[in-house]
Symmetry: C2
Subunit: 346 residues, 2 copies
């Protein structure tokens, strides 16, 4: 199984997702600042994986802090990690989980606090894999047999601690004996589909076909695609879904062609504090991601760029949201509230 | 003004569109085979430009043919040029125009035939610029003032003999005093938008913003886009439009967000022999265009790819088709037949 992120005595070890698939290089972050940089520069990406990285970042930060004035240092660690990327709510979920635990441990010694936070971060990582397997179990029955699944970006093992959300559903469907293959949008500008999804599926022997993002409509219209499954970076209370830029377009094209559009995500991706997707902050990234590809300039000097990293898909395009606690359908305000209330039911 | 293609005594001179924008290199094709290669490898691309190149290819082929057995050589020249790319009907239109002329010249000497065919090819080139200016005049009133125009691929000066079809409408709107700017889809895999459209608009001082293809939906949904204008490679009798892959997706997203979707193309792009777009042959190009960018590998070794170069936009998504003879609206079967019948009215 692909190991995205791992706690080791020497630090937080991550596979460098900026180098895949040409090079399989593991980096070791030895401070919370290095973890923050890894999130910011997308050495690690994918909402659930970012949640795990944030928890581990807090743990390594506390481990290396001075025993004196720990509260203030803890706040600084959390603030630095929270500043890395704005859209994926799992980042804040991971930090908040560590904050709640820290608040309950303040009577303990620095060493004891560190041990508990490290154990918690490892637990967050291990739980994420179990969550994804549960998402797979709930999602697999929705996948039509003998069909092609279209996915966008990488919501796979590399976007999580392992197994994946959208690709977890794919894996579970394959494990259930279904004959399926995957069409992967390349997902500009960062090419998560071309670089990560295809690599991951090759690893598992699941047939994958790479297309450019602008081909999705053509193949949805052709009748070739049985369903779309994507991940999510944040889901508002009404079921509006923030996910990788281009998801909205795929969703509209799926609906136009009567192809089911599924979102696979853990409950930690829900943000029930936001009534709808218009309140989700959308990260705008550097122009060079668009003007250059792997360091090679494509567009002329002086090109003006817009580079929103995410978009919001209104709930009316979402057939269902697949979580570790079950499948939510419209009206999502009710079904998502129910999922969120099923605490501890994983 | 940007010179896409030019007849010179030493051969057919083209700006190499595979090298733009990083290098402005002109290549000289000294035989019809070199012209065919230039079309095939996309040194020159864009439906109207391909039509001009085909006409010049026929002319240079006849110029270099033996006087003996000219008919058979003429057939071979036309067949070779016709085999280069299947979708853009302008290619066949250009060849057919030369064939009709050749048929009327067979009583003349080889030298006289050559002179007439060369003159005709130069005329095809000059006429194309006039046609595009007329498209611009008809289209400019449709462009909302103080708005952003979204375009896909490059339907500009570089896709034609000069001035452009979709970008011809943009230029005419600017010349008419409208305050507009352009959002350009980068247009994977060949990056015509990033490499050619942005470059061309910079040349003319028209504000341009580059986005990846999968951002088009986001900006159409945001209310930022006043209208979409694209070119076409072939338009069936019912108004279904074959154009660069991704056009269908943009059209669906435009309609979903109540943004007008305009197609700008010369009458030579009409193929009234085809009742609808399902009959248009769609070229599938090499996998390496998708797995590699500017020679740099992106996807893993062994990646399976689909690479259709075009898609078909059903007529229900097309607000209007802007030609040099006027603007056609639904029902297109009637309006396009009327346009085609307005012979000589440019």
């Amino acid at each position: 199984m692909i190991q995205t992120i791992l706690w080791k005595p020497e630090g937080v070890v991550m596979i460098d997702q900026t180098r895949l698939p040409l090079e399989e290089i593991y980096v070791t972050c030895q401070s919370y600042q290095e973890v923050a940089d890894a999130i910011r520069t997308m050495v690690i990406r994918g909402a659930p994986a970012i949640g795990v990285a944030a928890a581990m970042g807090v743990a390594i930060g506390v481990q290396q802090a001075d025993a004196a004035g720990l509260d203030a240092q803890f706040e600084a660690i959390c603030a630095e990690l929270a500043s890395t990327r704005p859209t994926a709510v799992n980042l804040f979920w991971g930090i908040d989980r560590m904050k709640r635990l820290y608040a309950s441990l303040r009577h303990l010694s620095h060493r004891e606090i560190t041990e508990r936070l490290v154990a918690e971060a490892i637990l967050v990582c291990e739980e994420d894999i179990e969550i994804n397997k549960a998402i797979g179990r709930h999602g697999a029955p929705l996948v039509p047999d003998n069909s092609t699944i279209l996915t966008h970006c990488n919501a796979g093992a590399l976007a999580t601690a392992g197994y994946g959300t959208a690709l977890g559903v794919v894996r579970a469907a394959v494990e259930a004996g279904k004959t399926i293959d995957v069409f992967s949008d390349e997902t500009r500008p960062f090419l998560q589909g071309a670089r990560l999804t295809v690599w991951e599926l090759q690893h598992d022997g699941i047939p994958a076909t790479l297309i450019t993002d602008n081909m999705a409509g053509h193949f949805l219209h052709s009748g070739r695609i049985g369903c779309v499954i994507v991940g999510a970076d944040r889901i508002a209370a009404n079921g509006d879904v923030a996910n990788k830029i281009g998801t909205y377009g795929v969703a509209v094209l799926a609906k136009e062609n009567n192809v089911p559009f599924y979102v696979a995500a853990p409950v930690s991706t829900l943000d029930l504090t936001l009534p709808d997707g218009t309140h989700i902050p959308i990260e705008e990234r550097a122009s060079a991601e668009v003007t250059h590809i792997q360091g090679v300039r494509m567009a002329p000097e002086g090109t003006v760029v817009r580079n929103p990293a995410f978009d919001v898909t209104p709930n009316r395009y979402v057939t269902a949201i697949i979580s570790e606690r079950g499948v939510a359908r419209a009206p999502f305000t009710e079904s998502l509230r129910e999922l969120a209330a099923k605490r501890g039911s994983l």
